[in-house]
Assembly symmetry: C2
Homo-oligomer: 175 residues x 2
């Protein structure tokens, strides 16, 4: 078991097989992995809303903009990540240090959810573009929505693209 | 290969074996996993500074506060994550949507680094408490430091603790 394989195989999927549902037991494992994500002072300052059926469709539509996220409506599962309040320790630390730990925690959670999705043979795309007000209304949320993750199976023949990243020499300094 | 095992086995390690170095090839795999992390518009708005030896010690000292992070000086490798500028597309998206994608990206990167560390049998702790100015000076950085990750081997007999997390019913709503 090596995470590097997950890192190599996971990619943003922008086309989903609309006729292939996500098995409930696979979705459960994805959520269980998310539940175990570490967070600042173990605050877990987020909530996960799992949308399927008509609700998934509505949220997917609310992620669309001019030329953006058209594929989202094909995904059978749409996961909405919203922000929750800090716990007290994290709130104090954040104030003193001027660091937004909540957003970092939401990033870690997102990596955990999408990594386990990859382990289960599912494809995902992390969407940062959405109509916050509309998504909140559909999901009955009072806190801000931070990310939407679409989940499902890619159509047959959808290929793993080569990854374009900064070279290690540019990304990393050793001292 | 299942990420859920990584999620279950990885924990914040607060004691390191000072006599056991991190093998260079393991560190390389950790960095390679980090390099593959996804980010908003593929902006990769971060830089990684890997500190060893005296530099690691200096940064570790700069993470200490009253009763905090005393163990950090035991870690043979200290990784500093600093923020870089957005690329243009992500900057425009962030402004329009009022969303801090950079911090989320740094969270995803952190999960990738620490997950691969776990795959390599290494232990890690993610530190959000540090003296930004001091760490920047030690590392010669001009951008803000967002997180410090300490890396190494736990001493013999260091146990996996049960994880305390919100129950799935509290964390997740299904609609």
């Amino acid at each position: 078991m090596d995470f590097l394989e997950t890192a190599m195989n996971r990619q943003s999927c922008r086309s989903f097989d609309e006729n292939r549902a996500v098995e409930p037991e696979k979705l459960e494992r994805v959520l269980q992995a998310g539940r175990l994500a570490p967070s600042a002072c173990n605050g877990q300052p987020y909530h996960i809303t799992v949308c399927t059926g008509e609700t998934a469709h509505q949220v997917a539509v609310a992620t669309q903009g001019p030329g953006m996220n058209k594929f989202a409506v094909q995904a059978p599962v749409v996961i909405v990540i919203s922000e929750e309040n800090y716990n007290k320790t994290a709130a104090v630390g954040s104030k003193i240090k001027g660091n937004d730990y909540r957003s970092i925690d939401i990033g870690i959670l997102t990596a955990y959810l999408t990594s386990e999705a990859n382990s289960q043979g599912l494809e995902s795309c992390i969407l940062g573009w959405f109509d916050d007000e509309k998504v909140r209304k559909i999901c009955g949320l009072t806190h801000p929505v931070r990310l939407v993750i679409v989940l499902g199976y890619a159509p047959d023949g959808y290929l793993l693209r080569p990854k374009k990243r900064k070279e290690l020499d540019e990304l990393v300094t050793r001292i």
